[in-house]
Assembly symmetry: C2
Homo-oligomer: 249 residues x 2
Amino acid sequence: MSAPQIDAVTLDGAGPLYDQIRRAIRDLILAGTWPPGTAVPAEHALMEKLGASRMTVHRALAQLAREGLITRRRRSGTIVASPPASHAMLDILSIPQEVRELGQIYSYRILQRSNGKASRDLATRFELGRSANVAHLTLLHFAGGAPHVLEDRVIHSETIPQVTDESFAETPPGDWLLQNSLWTQAEHAISAIAADPQEAELLKIDAGEPCLLVERRTWNQAEPITAVRLLYPGGRHRFVGRFGPYGSV
Amino acid sequence: MSAPQIDAVTLDGAGPLYDQIRRAIRDLILAGTWPPGTAVPAEHALMEKLGASRMTVHRALAQLAREGLITRRRRSGTIVASPPASHAMLDILSIPQEVRELGQIYSYRILQRSNGKASRDLATRFELGRSANVAHLTLLHFAGGAPHVLEDRVIHSETIPQVTDESFAETPPGDWLLQNSLWTQAEHAISAIAADPQEAELLKIDAGEPCLLVERRTWNQAEPITAVRLLYPGGRHRFVGRFGPYGSV
DNA sequence: CCTTTTTATTTGCATATGCAAATCGAGCTT
DNA sequence: AAGCTCGATTTGCATATGCAAATAAAAAGG
């Protein structure tokens, strides 16, 4: 059918009707029940199902469209949009893309890979429970043959079970996750540290050289997905962002 | 009168009516014609002035309210909102505030101050024309008596003429600018560098220690306002931001 | 004078209606 | 088969109407 899951739209009775509709549909999208590309029921269908007027349904959908969650076209109807690839502020989510935008050839190498419980060291570094079942990866990304960034990542196997069978031979884990998971929250911390001897050797810089350290953790609702530590040789890297006081003006 | 400048609201005839109204009012706010706190004309007044229905006017204002540009209250009416103090992502716009949030006593000292044309060095560092008339300031911010960050700033005197007569004895320039200027665009770059001997001495760290370098430039429309270079001792500082793929979910 | 009640104003929400614009598809024409 | 016309569907916009909620200001009451 054209409107696959119209019965999934249920209102919670809290607040204005148009906002209940908006949240109901938003939640279906964020939960992954309606993945990108799914056809959203037409205004008339929602109107009948929910017993609201078309203007009220329209208001909810128009707002979701402004927020970028859905794409609407006359006659064609409404579909769930793909999440924006990058966020306004220094969201370098894809390292291959980042390297290619510098005009260089991208490659990567997995240095280490393991599955199992988080070690004490990892649990501390990524602030997660010892009992968490995780995949742990260490890899090095190259730009034109030269080391670009050192990545240290854990992925929660409970949230993303497919990770256990994935070799990451084709796609580095960051990009793989973008395709195989949905995130609603991220935390991003940037600091400057000196490279320790081991890191320096891998990155082919001198020990003690300043590096940018990016630590990012992402969740879907309350469930942790991944935590990553990216170490960039400092002299060569900077993060740039543009924004206005109210977002994008 | 309660609606000071209703005649300033003029439509451009481009696109949907509600959006013309929305943009007309938004532009008055961003241009500073209606500073924060100004009473926005009531829906009825705009309705008569513009010849639109109340629903249409309401739609424009409701959207501006969602965007945070205005604040609306029943019976009291609508006023222009104050710009949000900090933006989602690592906008530490106020250093005094940043220090106080760390639970420490804030103070600062001006190391150098001059007015005039930008020197070659400054022009290069901040990517501006040699002919620009600027105020140039170097200052050191302290947290609980210890150096916190080294600030190097230029302010365009043409855009902000009051700067020439301001001593910055009471308020550091970053905070002063927040009160005395309006910005619509900012650019933010973060990198890691090693402190040079002179900087290290001021910050009371060892030369070569990794530091976070934040470079920020702000504009109002196309007019440059200020460019600043903030050097944070690295071990002690990190920037944290939280966000979702669609902004705030 | 202080407190309570009433009134009036302003925004917020929902509905019904009508028309316009975009565009997908079917059917028709050549 | 290729192109064209036309009808049907879906979203987009604007209006008019009515009522509800919040609340500032005025009026009433003690």
